[in-house]
């Protein structure tokens, strides 16, 4: 579906009416499922994800001999057939899904205190119910919330968002603006990257870019992305605090 980005230069409004630095509506819930060790529901615009955590639990047999002294982080992503515009079923061995699983696992291996749980596995199940851009970023944010619900110690929130650039690689447009939090129509048309940070002072824990962009535009995109991650981080913090308050109030009464 080609997207007409030419109107952007007129009013500086994007197809869904946002300005360049505006996030979509973010909504999150914690402890959505009683059977899981930790669970969360996260929405970024129309991207909706349910995350459940199993573990830390005894390491499953097989794999790397079980001799490691750190907990292993495993990620399983299931993209529902009805999540997109057309129904499409993706197998578990889809290369793109495997790459996302690896990226998420390595990002969380750094922020979680895995040395506290030797010989064990933490499994993150992500169920994508509806996708509209920023899939990887939404998965990471949902996993952060669910890991907090599971009570697994971590150094900081891992918050992620996407940034893009208004001009494609081919058009040599000098006045290209960076854009924050692309939806799926924009993602198909424009170059974009996914950025994840953890730690207060903008430590990048994940940066993935699959499209081509001119190197001069990259700096602006990353700095907008860092700002977006800061916003997401405070939103996640708000969700956690609101949930904590609710739990404490239920205890008191």
């Amino acid at each position: 579906m080609p997207l007409d980005t030419s109107t952007y230069s007129l009013a500086h409004l994007r197809v869904d009416g946002r300005r360049w630095n505006e996030l979509r509506r973010v909504h999150g819930q914690i402890s959505t499922q009683a059977a899981a060790d930790g669970s969360s529901y996260f929405e970024m615009g129309n991207t909706k994800i349910i995350c459940t955590i199993a573990g830390p639990q005894e390491q499953r047999r097989g794999g790397n001999s079980g001799q490691s002294h750190d907990a292993k982080v495993e990620v399983e992503i299931g993209i529902a057939g009805f999540s997109g515009v057309d129904r499409k079923r993706r197998g578990r061995n889809d290369k793109r899904i495997q790459e996302m699983q690896h990226a998420i696992a390595s990002a969380f291996t750094h922020t979680l205190f895995t040395h506290l749980y030797p010989h064990s596995t933490i499994t993150i199940h992500l169920h994508v119910l509806s996708q509209d851009g920023a899939l990887l970023a939404a998965c990471i944010n949902a996993a952060t919330l669910a890991l907090i619900d599971a009570g697994i110690p971590m150094s900081d929130y891992t918050a992620a968002c996407t940034t893009g650039s208004t001009a494609s690689y081919a058009s040599n447009d000098e006045a290209a603006d960076p854009l924050l939090d692309l939806n799926s129509m924009e993602e198909q048309e424009l170059p974009f990257l996914t950025l994840g940070t953890s730690g207060g002072d903008d430590q990048v824990s994940l940066l993935i870019m699959e499209t081509r962009v001119q190197a001069t535009r990259l700096e602006a995109m990353v700095s907008v992305g860092l700002d977006g991650c800061r916003q997401i981080r405070s939103l996640l913090d708000g969700i956690v605090r609101a949930h904590g308050k609710k739990v404490l109030e239920a205890r008191v009464t």
């Binding site: 129309n46 009805f82 999540s83 057309d86 169920h127």
Partner: protein
């Protein structure tokens, strides 16, 4: 199922005894036909034609999304001149709804419905998901009304994809959860209203407000037609228990999945019935006192294996737990069917309860 039963023979025996009382005493104090409380919502996904989510009391959760796509019908052998003749008769202009409905009859085909079940930690071709999807498909197709409704005209039809996601590890047998969620998703499924007539390429009204429900809600006759629900029923001794918990499944004599559907203008009818291998068969039996080598070592030491077997068989589960054997009596099966389909029976109660769920 991966989950083993964490109960000792003594505990199993206790549960079995209390459940075979009249009336049975269930561990959670429910009556035999009472269901556990559940949380349900419909129309949760904007990208699906119909969707539902159900969360059971034990924490298991399922989401079902129904998606419909228009597909070109392949030529069907044996239905050529008859169809053309029928369509030429319709040229007189307005077609009333009843006529249209009866025109669709018998034109649906089984392959227009596709069910996929995803259970975490299991492959798509593992026995549990394959068995569950076969059971759910069987019930939906034998209803008959559903596949006929997917017919658009002689060249096009709807293809219905039902994706069932179990979000948690299966704690007990997940069949009732998946079936109830599918029922809920199907009654909330809407398909765009058709504008084009007869055998033209189908053209649809793009106003979602004008879309029609796959299972109509208003109108006298059709409103009564409802998708099937599959209920899990266990029998323990003479007792029949609905919505068994994990502990109850662990001691049941037999378990069966019974699918009932409500067809237009008629009451409930059974559309599918399957016996399920109950997990109680995998439990370990207890050791009768006469064979206890700790309390009477002298007596048991002299026993040959054949004699020990005879003694064990003689006990017949009277003093210690013995895994159930054999099938179920016909009288119990007919009682179960009667309890489900009778007026104001369990089937009607479940369907009425699900109809009350709001978006």
């Amino acid at each position: 199922m991966a989950n083993t039963i964490p109960l000792s023979p003594a505990e199993l025996s206790y549960l079995h005894t209390s459940l075979s009382q009249t009336p049975p005493i269930r561990p959670d104090g429910r009556s035999p036909t009472q269901f556990r409380p559940l949380v349900a919502e419909t129309d949760i996904l904007p990208s699906a034609n119909g969707s539902a989510r159900i969360c059971f009391a034990d924490g298991t959760e399922a989401i079902v999304g129904v998606k419909a796509e228009v597909e070109k019908s392949s030529a069907r052998p044996g239905a050529t001149t008859d169809d053309i003749f029928k369509n030429s008769r319709d040229q007189d202009g307005d077609v009333d709804v009843d006529r249209e409905e009866s025109d669709k009859e018998g034109k649906g085909r089984d392959e227009w419905l596709e069910i996929a079940i995803e259970i975490p930690g299991m492959r798509d071709d593992d026995s549990l998901p394959v068995f569950l999807s076969a059971m759910l498909t069987e019930a939906l197709l034998s209803d008959g009304g559903l596949k006929d409704r997917l017919w658009i005209n002689s060249r096009f039809h709807w293809r219905l994809y039902i994706d069932i996601l179990l979000l948690s590890q299966p704690r007990s047998y997940p069949l009732p959860l998946l079936s109830l969620t599918t029922h809920l998703a199907l009654i909330s499924t809407r398909i765009p209203a058709l504008i084009s007539e007869h055998d033209e390429d189908p053209l649809f009204n793009d106003d979602w407000e004008a879309s029609t429900f796959l299972y109509p809600r208003s109108g006298e006759l059709q409103a009564r037609s409802k998708p099937p629900v599959t209920l899990l029923v266990v029998s323990i001794g003479e007792a029949v228990l609905f919505d068994p918990s994990r502990d109850e499944l662990a001691v049941c004599d037999s378990a069966m999945a019974i699918s009932v559907a409500q067809s237009a203008g008629a009451g409930l009818k059974v559309v599918a019935l399957r016996m399920i291998d109950p997990p109680s068969r995998l439990t370990a039996g207890g050791v009768p006192q006469v064979l206890n080598s700790t309390s009477n070592p002298a007596a048991t030491a002299s026993l040959s294996p054949a004699e020990a077997l005879v003694l064990r068989e003689k006990d017949q589960g009277q003093t210690v737990w013995r895994p159930p054997r054999g099938g179920v009596r016909r009288a119990i099966i007919s009682r179960i069917i009667k309890m489900v389909v009778e007026n104001n029976g369990v089937g009607e109660e479940v369907i009425a309860g699900l109809a009350g769920v709001e978006a």
